[in-house]
């Protein structure tokens, strides 16, 4: 059995008086795309940030890419990629400069060649010398994907990645995620867009108020069924606490 990409238990995060995440377990295997579904405040972003080592858990822990979360944060950071609705790009720099900067900070020694190649693959080679400030959201997201192509992460974290994107960018993003999964990597995606999630993911983890309320496999599940489950568990207050038949880990 191949080593899990993510194997975490009891992840808890407290911000002041808010319990953003309450003892969440998550396991992701190679080749999987897992969707975290839930309304705002469910804890999806917090969970992603915890796994990406951007923040530290208040309690709980585990391993990401085989490395202990509390010890090997640097090793983890080298092999993951985060695509979120914040672009993390410097507006005053050009596309090329943004990639160059990110690459150097990531510890890579790259010259113009690989950078140009990455830009070409996301269709931004013509805009390489233009400031990111002039880009549309779709172009910015494509640039971020270009960054990922440079880093070649094994594990992707995506936080509402489809917001405000045009069709071409969406297609590129979905294709990229699929390619990562196909070569043995994995992706964890937080979204409240159920149809996109259904199209891309193999498993769904429904969350509400910082906890996991339901886990389902895509096998034998229709999009409508997913929608119904979401409405029942993730959104309504009464359903919380009812233990139904659970499928999957």
């Amino acid at each position: 059995m191949a080593e899990a990409m993510v194997d975490a238990q009891g992840l808890t995060k407290v911000f002041g008086t808010t319990l953003a995440l309450d003892a969440v377990d998550l396991r992701v295997d190679p080749g999987e795309v897992v969707a975290l579904l839930g309304p705002n405040g469910a804890g999806k972003t917090t969970l992603l940030k915890l796994l990406a080592t951007a923040i530290k858990p208040t309690a709980g822990g585990g391993r990401v890419l085989g490395v202990d979360l509390s010890k090997g944060r640097d090793a983890i950071r080298r092999r993951i990629g985060m695509i979120s609705h914040n672009h993390h790009l410097y507006e005053e720099l050009t596309a090329e400069e943004n990639l160059k900067f990110a690459a150097v900070m990531h510890g890579m020694r790259v010259d113009g060649g690989p950078i140009f190649k990455a830009l070409t693959e996301v269709g931004l080679d013509g805009q390489a010398r233009r400031k990111v400030r002039t880009f549309s959201n779709g172009m910015k997201r494509r640039l971020v994907i270009g960054k990922m192509l440079l880093f070649e992460p094994d594990l992707l974290f995506l936080d509402e990645p489809h917001n405000t994107l045009d069709q071409a960018a969406i297609a590129l993003l979905n294709g990229y995620v699929a390619s990562v999964a196909a070569r043995g990597g994995a992706a964890v995606m937080a979204t409240h867009n159920l149809s996109r999630a259904y199209g891309m993911a193999d498993r769904f983890v429904l969350m509400r108020d910082g906890a996991v309320v339901r886990r389902v496999d895509k096998r034998g599940l229709s999009a409508d069924q997913l929608r119904e489950l979401y409405g029942r568990y993730a959104e309504s207050a009464e359903a919380a606490g009812t233990e139904g038949v659970r499928q999957g880990p």
């Binding site: 990406a52 080592t53 951007a54 530290k56 080298r78 993951i80 993390h88 005053e92 720099l93 400069e97």
Partner: protein, 227 residues
């Protein structure tokens, strides 16, 4: 490994300088503010030439420090505006190079402002700065490094806070009193024609301050960045 550290430091500095050169926010504000300060001192203190010459070193450093403070407050502006703090958190590798890169950028900006303030100061207050330029430059550099080292660390700390514009000066100034006193006294001695030998103890204090906090601050930066 050291090469990687230097490369990342350089990249960080390059990024800050480039962003600033294109946005032109910080340096413009700093220069304008400095000019304003120099003029207002003149009006506030009256036209008595002799009195002004006496307090000149202090005035000069007041101008340097207030201007520097303005620049430091904007150190992490680019990160804040572009929401790149998270990106910094996710960047693999040591945090020290990020700190030194930021510091180098801040020192560069402050020194640039000082280089423009100094001649203006010489003109407005009729002081012969050119004769003493090397010594003045040395003292200015030592003082700037000390001020900016703690300043960069505290700017990172206060970047997320409410009332950060108040908190940064409130925290920074009491801590940098040794730098202020040392720089002003050394400048005083220089402008009085006494040379640096007279004030070697102040210079040693400045160097000591710089060294201590150049070592401590990058280590502390790690704790400030994490969440």
């Amino acid at each position: 490994m050291v090469a990687g550290l230097l490369r990342r430091t350089w990249a960080m500095t390059w990024k800050d300088v480039t962003v600033e050169l294109r946005a032109r926010e910080r340096v413009n504000a700093m220069l304008f503010f400095a000019a304003l300060v120099l003029f207002i001192f003149n009006f506030a203190l009256g036209p008595d030439r002799e009195k002004l010459r006496e307090v000149a070193p202090g005035l000069l450093w007041l101008a340097f420090l207030f201007t520097g403070m303005l620049g430091l407050g904007r150190s992490f502006q680019a990160e804040r505006e572009n929401e790149c703090f998270e990106e910094l958190l996710l960047t693999p590798g040591d945090r020290e190079s990020i700190f030194f890169g930021k510091l180098a950028g801040n020192v560069l900006f402050m020194v640039t402002a000082e280089a423009l303030i100094l001649p203006l100061f010489g003109i407005l207050y009729n002081l012969d700065i050119w004769a003493y330029l090397p010594s003045l430059a040395l003292v200015a550099f030592l003082g700037t490094v000390g001020f900016s080292t703690l300043g960069t660390l505290l700017a990172a700390m206060t970047a997320h806070l409410r009332a950060r514009e108040v908190m940064l000066p409130l925290l920074l100034f009491p801590l940098t009193v040794p730098v202020i006193l040392g720089s002003v006294h050394a400048t005083e001695a220089i402008l009085a024609g006494q040379g640096l030998g007279q004030v070697s103890h102040w210079l040693k204090l400045l160097c000591g301050f710089d060294l201590i906090f150049l070592v401590v601050s990058p280590l502390a930066f790690e704790f400030v960045l994490e969440e």
